[in-house]
Every structure is written in C-alpha cells, then in structure tokens.
C-alpha cells in the first residue's frame, strides 16, 4: 500500500488552480457554520454537514483499484468489508460476515454473511455478489494492485448458499483475513463489480454508511448519509445511520490554504497538517489526530543490482551513518519516533532493532576503510578513482531526504536526490533503473516486507538476491501459527536491517486536524479515518 504522507510540494501548475478552487468552494460552503447552533456538548448539533479539505485529488474513488491513501479514505466511507480489525489489539472481528473460519493450511476461508444488508442501489448483499467482487479483482490484476496482493493465489469463490461461501487459494494465504478488513476488499454492488475499471473510478456503489453524491475531478467530492444503515461492526461507537448528513471534500493541494481555512472556519476538518503546524492546532479550539503509519517506514529501498548498492559494506555504512533521531527531530512529527526496525513500531510483528539501526559513524568508517575506501580531498570516500555516491529516487518527503543527505555528506557518503513525478517514480520501478527508492509501504501486517522485497511480488521495490530471505518471506506468508510466524518475522527483520536491504529513515505520522466541534473521528489499524461515528457537537 503506497503511502502518500506528504506529497511532493512542488506540483506543476496545480497550486494556482487549487487556490482558485479553494476560494470558490469556500464561498459555497459558507452556510454550514452559521447553522451549527446547538450548544449541548456531546450531543449532535442541528446541522450535521462538514467540510473536510483533502490534500490531493483522489483520482479514482474505487477502493479496490486505488493505492492512494486519500482515495482509500473516501472509499472506506462508501463501502464495508467482510471483517474489521481492532486498531488497538489487531484482533479481527466480524462485519459484513457474521462468522468466518479458516482451514489448517490457510488455503480456504469460509464466511457467513449478515442478513438484511443492502447496497445503496437497493440490491441485497449475497454470496454471489461477493464472489463477483473477488473474481473482478482477480481479473483487474495489477490495476487493483493492493486488492490483488491480498488475494494472492486466488483460485475462486465457492458459493454454497445465499449467505455462505468459501474463498480458496492455491497456496497458503495467512494475511487474507487482515486484507479482508481493508477497504481494498470493500464489497461493491453487482453492477459496480461488473462495470469497467474506468467507470468504477468515477462512481462506486457499496453498502457503506455514506453514499457518493458528487465527484468533480480536481475540485471536490461530496458524500451523503445512507438512510437505513444498520450493519456497522462491533468496533463502531453507535448503531444505525451515520450522524453526519453530508461531508464535502474540497481538494486543496496547498497545505497553508488548508491550515488557514481551518483557522478561518472554512473547513471543519483538514487532511495532512504539516508537522511544523502541530503547535498551532494544539489547543482547545482544535483537535489534532496523529496516527502513525504501520508497515515499512519511510526508507531507502535498495536495488542491489544497481551501482554500488550491491556492496554490503556500502549499504551498511549508509545505514550506520544515519542519525535517525535527528532526522525525526528535523522533519518528523512531535508525536512520532525514530524508526527502530524495518517495520514501524505500530506494526504487528515489529521487533526492536534499535541497536542495529543506531547511529555509528565510526563503525561506518571502519567498514568502508576495510573495503578499500579512502576519504578524498572533498571529504567524500573514494576507491581507485570511484566516488562513493548513490541516488535516491522519490516523489515525496523531500525534507527527509535532504536531512539524510546532510548526515551522509558529513560521514563521507555522497547521496544524490532525484525528485520525480509520481508517474516517473513507478516508471523507474518498472525499468529497475534506480539505486534506491525513497518511500514507505503502509500495511498492518509484516507481510509488507514480502510485498516489497520478494522476487515473486507484483509490488517488488527492493531488488535483493538472497535465497535465505526469499524462503523466509514465503514461509511467513504460509505459517498459520502466530508464535511460529512471529519467530520467522523476527528473523526477516534482522536480516533486512543488518544487510541494509531497506534503510529506514522516518516513521511517518499522518496528522489531521479538525475544529473542536467535530467529535468522533476514528482511525483504523492503517491510520485511515472512519467518519461513521463523527458528529458536529455544540
């Protein structure tokens, strides 16, 4: 799951258009605040319409296809999933499926659907619809990269009755239960599932607590309450309809316009507050939501088949030359912490490898010198006329890269930054033409490392030739026993961190803010928000 925590701020001509759009939208939404009159705290006020400023155009609203956090966030409000996951404990609980079971080798999952659930177009939720959804995802393949990854090895859905079905896999798929809690496997209506990929991007019909009202590309998205909704999971704070009548999402790419708009009351909620503005919204007038991204932290994901990256000593020297605490201090959230493993501390299965990832410039120098590198006149290591340099290709978090670049330069390693557009980033992945990628991968399961590093993964970013690691990555995906799997996952993290196949830089914290009057915004295990329990209080 690609996380897009901070977009590349230097967008092309979009900022001007966004500012114009912001002004227009602000003018349209002026009425909502005036109507909020009730003052009894904790109870809904009269008008339950909020404006939630997004940082980017969602591009594709279909949660099964998209990998953008912004679109997944909207998709969550429109669709429900078979299961739900407690963000605190990681426990999997029923949702659209009231009951579920898995066979011993994790190749077949049997679900029982709740009765009386309908899509917003009036059609009922049946086993056939779910089967059609999974079949459609399987056909979309790479176009639905996340959902396909959750359904890895999918062989078909066997419908046994109106409400009972079995999803089968050709090989063990332990992570499917967690995958089934995500909006990527949110269930769409039969019509939506049958529509073309392009049609689904613009409009999807789900069973969710909100219904899509309008989507104007690069301008705004509007969702309205689904009347008669009554099938939230046990993790929700109430039953019945959502509290909010409507949510308007204007697309405001400039962070300063979003923060300014929240201060002036144009927006009730804003997505992606810059860390630097944290203090500004830490008071009684606002609520600040900090949610750490689980999965692989923001890192240099190495291509060992390119340039100097094949040399273990060079990679290890890079990881030892990074002072992650200082990077966190300079570019991270006040509520965040420096990464201490190749999984973030909020990810299930995380192992503390703080010692391996400690700042150790002497150790780095010793490694390089043992390998024949010598400090050149310009303070950068050289070996036989070759300079110790590598390039990181990225499309966001430029400040993190610049901070790392300064530290590496201080320790004799030249790092070049190649900031590119999103398309060029994935283009580089397709051609394999990079030393390292600067990115993270949001996933509430240690399987994120397999997705990122396995030679068989469709989402392979790190090019690594390590048979032992590959075997372990496959083994953890097929191990049902929790303790046994944890032991494998520990070993994987140890190898990846020690061999510096992934060099973590920062644990990304997603920071959102709202006016104090907005209450009840909750987050799922992957730090994505849920608006079902949200309301405007007096």
């Amino acid at each position: 799951m690609t996380n897009f925590p901070r977009p590349r701020r230097r967008l092309l001509a979009a900022p001007a258009a966004a500012v114009a759009a912001a002004t227009l939208l602000a003018a349209c939404s002026g009425g909502t605040e005036a109507e909020e009159t009730t003052d009894a705290s904790g109870t809904p006020a009269a008008a339950q319409d909020v404006v939630f400023a997004l940082k980017e155009d969602p591009t594709c609203l279909d949660p099964q296809q998209t990998s953008m956090t912004t679109s997944l966030n909207i998709g969550r409000q429109l669709t429900d999933s078979l299961l739900d996951q407690d963000p605190e404990t990681g426990d999997i609980v029923p949702w659209l499926a009231t009951d579920w079971s898995v066979n011993d080798d994790a190749t077949a999952y049997t679900f029982t659907l709740a009765e009386g659930v309908t899509f917003s177009d009036g059609t009922p939720l049946t086993s056939d619809v779910v089967a059609a959804n999974f079949d459609a995802i399987n056909e979309l393949g790479d176009a639905a990269s996340l959902a396909s990854a959750y359904l890895a090895g999918y062989t078909g859905t066997d419908v046994t009755s109106e409400t009972e079905f079995t999803v089968s896999f050709s090989e063990p798929n332990v992570q499917f239960a967690q995958g089934a809690t995500t909006m990527s496997l949110g269930i769409l209506s039969a019509d939506s599932a049958a529509a073309t990929a392009e049609e689904r991007c613009l409009a999807v019909v789900g069973t969710g607590p909100f219904v899509l009202d309008d989507y104007t590309v690069n301008d705004s998205v509007t969702i309205v309450k689904r009347e008669g909704y009554d099938w939230g999971s046990e993790l929700r704070g109430h039953t019945g309809d959502a509290y909010l009548d409507s949510v308007t999402f204007p697309i405001i790419t400039e962070a300063s316009v979003r923060t300014g708009g929240l201060e002036s009351g144009e927006y009730d909620l804003i997505q992606d507050v810059p860390y630097i503005d944290e203090a500004r919204f830490t008071n009684d007038e606002y609520r600040l939501y900090a949610a750490a991204n689980p999965g692989v932290p923001n890192s240099f994901v190495i291509n060992t088949a390119h340039g100097l990256m094949g040399e273990t000593a060079v990679r290890q020297a890079i990881t030892k030359s990074l002072d992650r605490d200082q990077i966190n201090l300079l570019t991270g959230s006040a509520s965040g912490q420096a990464p201490t493993s190749v999984l973030t501390s909020s990810t299930p299965g995380y192992t503390d490898l703080g010692d391996t990832l400690a700042y150790d410039p002497e150790g780095a120098a010793a490694l390089l010198e043992a390998d024949g590198w010598e400090l050149g006149a310009d303070g950068i290591y050289e070996r036989g006329g070759e300079t110790l340099t590598f390039t990181v290709t990225a499309f966001y978090a430029q400040d993190v890269l610049e901070a790392a670049q300064m530290q590496l330069a201080d320790n004799g390693i030249d790092m070049q930054i190649n900031m590119v557009a999103v398309g060029d980033f994935f283009g580089a992945i397709a051609t394999g033409d990079y030393d390292a990628l600067g990115a993270g991968l949001t996933r509430t399961d240690p399987d994120a490392l397999r997705v990122m590093l396995s030679a068989e993964s469709t989402g392979r970013w790190g090019i690594v030739d390590d048979a032992e690691l590959e075997a372990l990555l496959q083994e953890q995906a097929a191990t049902v026993d929790t303790a046994a799997r944890q032991a494998i996952v520990d070993e994987i993290q140890q190898i990846v961190a020690e061999q510096a196949y992934v060099i973590p830089t920062l644990e990304t914290v997603q920071l959102h803010a709202s006016a104090a009057a907005v209450d009840g915004l909750t987050f799922d295990s992957a730090a994505r928000f849920n608006l079902y329990d949200a309301m405007v209080v007096g």
Partner: protein, 265 residues
C-alpha cells in the same frame, strides 16, 4: 556624468555589483555552508547571526540565497541572450527579405506573441525536462517574439536609408550589407530592450523554479527557496519573504540601471 550620479543608478549599480560577487564568488558573501545545517537552530527568525533566519533543516537561508544567485541569474542572462540573438536574427531576415517571407515569419511571431511567455516557457520546460538550462531556453523562446518585432521595425527603417542605397550601388553583396551596415545600426534598441527584458527574465526564471521545474534539491534557486518556504508561511514567513525580497530588489536594480543608462536617450 550627471546620469551616473543619479542616486537610483548608484544604488542599482551597487546592488548589481554585490549580486555579481554572489554569482562569481559566493563563498565571499555566504557566512555558512548552504548545504549543511548549523546545529539544531531550525526555523530561527532573522538575527545578526543568521540575516535571513534558518530553514526547517537548520540551514542558513542567507547563505542559500547567495549560492542560489548563480543558477537563477545565469539562467536569466542565458534566456535573455538567447531571446535577443534568436529574435534579432528572425527580425533581420524578416525585415530584409520582405514580401511573402516577411509575411509568413511575422504571422508565426504573432502566434508566439499571442501565447503568454510564461506559458510558452512551461510548455518548453515540460517537454525538455527539468533544470536551469531548459528553463533558460523556455524563457528565452518566450521573449523571442518581441525581440523579432523590434528588430524588424529597425531593419525596415534602415534599409531605405541613403547609406544602404550607396552600399548597394557600390556593388556590395547582400549578406555584407546586412551584417556590416544594417545590423550594427539596428541593434542598439535591441540592447536597450535586452536590459529591461533581463529583469523580466529573472522573474520568469524564478517563477518556473518556484513551480518546481528547477534544479534537484538541495541545490538552491531563488524561486525554489520561496517555494520551499511556502509550507511554513504561517509559522516562519521569512523563509519565503527573504528570498522573495531579494528577487524584488535585484529586479528593481536591473530595471533602474536599464532605464537610467539605456532608456532615456
């Protein structure tokens, strides 16, 4: 002499001399390394130690502005030169050839003038790729149209002068007349125009760099410095205001000098 003692001229000249030093020997002016942090003092307000304050990575903003002068100004000079040379040549050909050739060339120039220069530059940069050189080419191409117009008008005036007639009757070949007699006499307005265009080019180059078409980080450019400061505008406004003011002052200085030395003839 009177013109040189004009306070505006003096002040402009002084600013440009300092700017020139920044372009050639940035190390003389910059008190710190523009690429490295100065301890943990991040987002500090302007002070005696840090004239323009420090940025989010605790780098001295003044030093970054000084080092940013080279790319920003060289791109502007390159753009103006390219525009003047290319536009001058087109105008020269158009003015001398006359007839259908003139008509055809001028319609193309009309089309170029109809497209705003910055938009033309955007198109060029988007197709050539990011970087200072493509920005210079883009901005230069955007300025070509007006240079061509001015050159053509001059050539059309001069080609009917008596000394051109005389040269022709003496049997000089056309290229000789063009480059030895017409061009030197027609180029003076082009030079005057180039000095004012330079100010516009600095603005255009900074605008494109602001939009993210410039050099890769951490190389500083004036436009990208303003842009990088944007996200801190509410908490640390100097990050954008300081480099922005420098652009303003330099553009005013170029303009002031151009007007007082070249414009009021």
């Amino acid at each position: 002499m009177r013109r040189l003692l004009n306070p505006v001229t003096l002040l402009s000249a002084l600013v440009l001399v300092v700017t020139l030093i920044a372009v050639i020997w940035p190390g003389l002016l910059a008190p710190y390394d523009p690429f490295d942090s100065v301890g943990d003092a991040r987002l500090e307000a302007p002070s005696a130690a840090h004239l323009f304050g420090t940025d989010a990575l605790a780098r001295d903003v003044f030093s970054r502005v000084v080092y940013g002068a080279r790319l920003s100004l060289l791109a502007a000079v390159l753009a103006t030169t390219a525009g003047a040379v290319l536009g001058g040549l087109v105008g020269l050909i158009s003015g001398t050839a006359g007839g259908r050739v003139d008509f055809a060339i001028m319609r193309v120039i009309d089309v170029m003038l109809a497209i705003p220069g910055i938009l033309l530059a955007l198109i060029v940069v988007a197709s050539l790729g990011f970087g200072a050189v493509s920005i210079a080419i883009g901005v230069g191409l955007g300025a070509t149209g007006s240079f061509a117009r001015v050159m053509r008008a001059q050539v059309m005036r001069i080609r009917n002068e008596e000394y051109i007639e005389a040269a022709r009757t003496m049997g000089l070949r056309r290229p000789t007349i063009l480059f030895r007699h017409v061009m030197p006499n027609a180029s003076q307005p082009i030079v005057a125009m180039a000095s004012t265009e330079l100010a516009l080019a600095i603005l255009a180059v900074s605008a494109l760099s602001f939009l993210g078409f410039g050099a890769q980080p951490p190389t500083p450019e004036w436009g990208s410095l303003v842009s990088d400061g944007r996200q801190f505008i509410a908490t640390a406004p100097w990050l954008s205001i300081m480099p922005g003011s420098v652009i303003l002052v330099v553009v005013l200085a170029v303009n002031g000098l151009a007007r007082n030395l070249g414009g009021n003839r």
